[in-house]
């Protein structure tokens, strides 16, 4: 008899026991996997909004006599059925942290099965500290390498704050809201800024923009690549009449619109991690990606509603990104992949589980 055969014969009984144990364990795992299902309104609900939790049978078989919803360790809803819903919050005390929840299904025999989850309660409001401008030209960028959020948003200039306040006032007028309500609701801030820039700014080519700067006291403004306009100068001189024919209050091309939107939002205390300037790959357009309605969304020409559901053609290929925390602005695949690589995107590190793609910012693809 070979040594291996001898070994197997001697331990036959032991092997049989082991096999039974493995089968039993597998059955336990399968039984243990039967869980109810629970979901929240979105994966990054705003801290100033209510959250709706919906619990359902999931893959639990048999009769369910009670379904409970637990939020933050407390049972908040109970139904003698296989489903339950609960609308709770807002949860400002969980700002920028996880809020745990669970569905607990009680089966007819009294056994309970549980499914837990969490959402990241996003609060991009009330961030008033900012990076001081450090550009070589009085804080403005003097080279492509100095095209940072700090140097282009110019949050140190009161004109930026003044127009940010105009934005929430005018949005409140248009929507019959109190300005206090607008200021304290993250989604309203985003919508107000998108509306303000759409209403007051129009496109003008970079063939003309440097000439207007030169004719209005900024002949030495030489920021390097693509002539991005600092937000304060867009607001103060881009609509001037000196050797120019403006058709709106402010003028500039796509990156100037994007810089102004980001600056106005930041001036309202919107967090730097929640607002990006994005550049298409191949380079053809610049716009914003902003935390809105619990996920990152496109903010481009038009109101915030403009691009939420529009995915009928390749309008955006968001790839290069920069903001106050990441930069400088640019479009090289080795240095400016901040959108793809940044852990802020999504906050709390919770994405839809799919690999990053520029399409993630469309509502029908992003969760």
């Amino acid at each position: 008899m070979k040594r291996t055969d001898l070994f197997l014969t001697r331990h036959k009984e032991g092997f049989a026991r082991l096999a039974w144990c493995m089968v039993a364990s597998l059955m336990l795992v399968v039984v243990g996997c039967s869980r109810p299902y629970i979901e929240a309104t979105s994966i990054h609900p705003d801290s100033d909004k209510q959250i709706e939790f919906t619990a359902s049978r999931g893959d639990v078989e048999g009769t369910i006599t009670k379904m409970e919803i637990e939020v933050d360790g407390t049972v908040v809803a109970s139904d003698n059925d296989a489903t339950a819903t609960y609308t709770g919050g807002p949860y400002p005390t969980h700002s920028n942290s996880k809020l745990t929840f669970a569905a607990i299904a009680t089966k007819s025999g009294g056994d309970k099965v549980r499914k837990s989850g969490w959402v990241y309660v996003a609060n991009p409001k009330n961030v008033y500290s900012y990076t001081s401008p450090s550009g070589s030209n009085n804080g403005y960028p003097d080279a492509t390498s100095e095209q940072t959020g700090a140097n282009l948003y110019r949050l140190d200039k009161s004109i930026v704050r003044n127009h940010a306040i105009n934005a929430i006032m005018e949005y409140a007028n248009a929507n019959s809201l109190s300005v206090f309500k607008v200021y304290n609701t993250a989604d309203h801030l985003v919508a107000a800024v998108a509306r303000y820039v759409d209403e007051h700014m129009s496109w003008r080519s970079d063939n003309t923009n440097p000439t207007v700067f030169a004719n209005n006291g900024y002949g030495n403004y030489s920021p390097g690549w693509d002539f991005p306009q600092p937000a304060d100068l867009t607001l103060s001189i881009s609509g001037n009449l000196t050797n120019a024919t403006p058709n709106d209050d402010f003028q500039g091309d796509c990156e100037d619109h994007a810089i102004l939107r980001a600056a106005l939002l930041r001036a309202l205390g919107f967090a730097p991690w929640a607002i990006w300037d994005a550049i298409d790959n191949p380079v053809s357009h610049e716009y914003n990606i902003v935390l809105y309605e619990g996920a990152y969304r496109l903010m481009d020409y038009g109101t915030i509603d403009r691009w939420l559901d529009t995915h009928t053609w390749d309008s955006h290929r968001s790839f290069y990104g920069w903001n106050e925390n990441n930069g400088p602005r640019g479009a090289t695949s080795t240095q400016n992949n901040y959108l793809k690589n940044n852990t802020d995107n999504y906050p709390g590190g919770k994405s839809d589980g799919e690999p990053w793609s520029y399409e993630i910012y469309y509502k029908d693809i992003s969760p």
Binding site: Y128, D156, M169, F180, D206, L241, D253, E286
Partner: protein, 342 residues
């Protein structure tokens, strides 16, 4: 030199900005001197001192780069009415006269400072239930040259005690008077109703007031441009007819008038010699349309129509205003058209 190493490490903890880097080199030199002066047994004191010094610098740095949250006036005084006039001049700052009617809705007397943003505030005392009318002036700015296109900005945002007023203004009625010799209003950033002659009115109820910008000209040509599209909603791709009615409301004949429009080329395309697809130097693309009108005599109207192609439904965005210029000087701006959502 152990204490020196520790102090350097402490500084590095706070080292996070370019401005701070400059401070570090000075601090390090200072530490070196201190270290040479002080005996080794005082090294502990040196560490404590440098830690304190660095913390202070760091705190100052943070303080310097901080905005204040917006503060709101939450008291009992409401703004019943803002009325008055803005008198625009040829080549000079505008004159203003504003009356603000305040009402104390509270149950005790109130003392507040009332002023427009950035302008001098005025102290007011109001007894319980009292209404009072006061005169205050807004900040204004002006750009442009006499005899040409000019722009005036009037900031009408109200502050009480230096804070934003939470309640909207109940009634607004402000007259905007163009100079007598003005050929007309080119554009305003708020809707103004035309009155008699060169008078326009800003009116509203239950509104927050922000800046009013008015562009006007005292040159011989001012064009009133009305832009329309058909269909008025773009719910599907297909042709869109654009019509421009251009009236010369000035006293002189307009010659070689350049009419310009631009569109987002993702939304629209066009065919013909008037269209050009602009490719920016690096970034951005635009569909441009332009046409030159040889002559528009004073008082006459010219109508132009052309066809755009909507590449898809276009919602929740505006079509930019049409610009009219003669030799690079602005003589007219049309209305903007907002394309509503579904």
């Amino acid at each position: 030199m152990e204490s020196l190493g520790v102090t350097r490490s402490i500084i590095k903890i706070f080292h996070h900005s370019d401005e701070f880097k400059k401070l570090i080199s000075h601090t390090e030199r200072f530490i070196m001197k201190l270290h040479n002066i002080m005996h080794k047994k005082y090294s502990g004191l040196l560490i404590v001192f440098v830690f304190f010094f660095s913390s202070q610098l760091f705190a100052q740095q943070q303080e310097k780069a901080r905005m204040q949250p917006i503060s709101f006036y939450e008291g009992a005084v409401a703004v019943e009415k803002i009325s008055g006039f803005v008198e625009l001049h040829d080549g000079e700052d505008p004159e203003t006269e504003f009356k603000v009617v305040l009402r104390n809705e509270g149950e005790r007397s109130e003392q507040i400072e009332v002023g427009f943003r950035g302008a001098q505030a005025r102290k007011v005392s109001l007894n319980q239930g009292e209404s009072q009318s006061i005169s205050i002036s807004p900040t204004t700015s002006f750009s442009g040259e006499a005899g040409r296109a000019q722009k005036a900005d009037i900031d009408m945002m109200l502050h009480f005690n230096g804070k934003l007023v939470q309640k909207p203004v109940e009634t607004v009625n402000v007259e905007v008077r163009l100079p007598q010799q003005a050929s007309g209003l080119i554009r305003a950033n708020k809707q103004l109703k035309q009155g008699d002659g060169n008078a326009y009115y800003l009116t509203g109820q239950g509104v927050y007031l922000t800046e009013l910008s008015v562009v006007y000209t005292t040159g011989p040509v001012a064009l009133d441009i009305k832009k329309q599209i058909r269909p008025t909603r773009i719910d599907e791709k297909g042709p869109v007819k654009v019509t421009l009615q251009i009236k010369n409301k000035g006293s002189g004949t307009a010659q070689n008038v350049l009419i310009e429009e631009d569109y987002d080329p993702r939304d629209f395309s066009g065919e013909g010699e008037n269209f050009e697809v602009y490719e920016g130097k690096v970034n951005d693309r635009r569909l441009l349309w332009s046409q030159t009108i040889d002559r528009i005599p004073a008082g006459e109207t010219v109508e132009i129509s052309y066809e755009l192609i909507a590449n898809m439904p276009v919602h929740d965005t505006k079509l930019s205003a049409t610009t009219a210029s003669i030799d690079g000087e602005l003589v007219g701006v049309s209305n903007e058209i907002f394309l509503p959502g579904e």
